[in-house]
Symmetry: C2
Subunit: 144 residues, 2 copies
Amino acid sequence: MPHKKEIELFASHIRRKNLKHTEQRTQILKTFLETERHLTAEELYVSVKRKYPSIGYATVCRTIKVLCECELCRELKVEDGVSRYEHLYGHEHHDHLICTSCGSFTEIMSPEIEKLQEKLAAENEFALTRHSLELYGICKKCNH
Amino acid sequence: MPHKKEIELFASHIRRKNLKHTEQRTQILKTFLETERHLTAEELYVSVKRKYPSIGYATVCRTIKVLCECELCRELKVEDGVSRYEHLYGHEHHDHLICTSCGSFTEIMSPEIEKLQEKLAAENEFALTRHSLELYGICKKCNH
DNA sequence: ATACCTGCAAATGTTTTGCGACTAA
DNA sequence: TTAGTCGCAAAACATTTGCAGGTAT
């Protein structure tokens, strides 16, 4: 059974928060886990709707919130103003290369940059809680 | 005369693009140049309206676009989804510390981080055009 | 039984656009 | 004269919310 841990995490969050285990939530979680990362709420909605046509967009948005609360999902805000959602559980922190031609997201990570960010924050006596780093440009594929 | 260069830059952009030199644009430019940085369109609108009550919000938004085109202004997209605008002319590239308590923006710059970003992009054969780095947390003042 | 949940439509909040009147060049 | 501009109201767009009916526990 794929995503066993994630499904258990979701179930225990549901229990802990006195929420209800509904077919809609199950379908949204399943589709989210099965799908490539960095999708928009709209994309997830369309995807779920294929298997569960009665689903409403609002339910998808509300369930994404629950997924974020239990740390299965992370919201990314990028420059087009549309939120994207990616898997968080079991994934190391990372930033992104975002191709402005094909819209692809590539995960990147630099421990040196992380350290330098902390140094900058410390120099400004700033209590860092999180950061957002995106590099925009043209990806390898689009550059042929 | 303050902001002489900026006003000339704006005027020459106006000429080059066959736009017109209107009182509204003059007022918006003036207020933008005189005001602390990182304001929203709404804040700039309110500010201009004080001296020029007939101004419309749409005109402010349209003029901000022109300011960005002639590189007097840079648009920042941050996590609250509201665009902020800052002075660009004569300002070195920088990133921001953003206080989630008081909303203040502090400019930061690290040549090492810039270099590492270029290195990351190169490693991924990614043609970097720009980036966005914001550090969120609590600023010195708010942390008393 | 009773919280909680759902889908829908309406509201929200920001930014953009269509339009008829107006104005700079 | 005429292309470009203005202010207004409406549209756009993603996301959120109110609500009445439905469902899990």
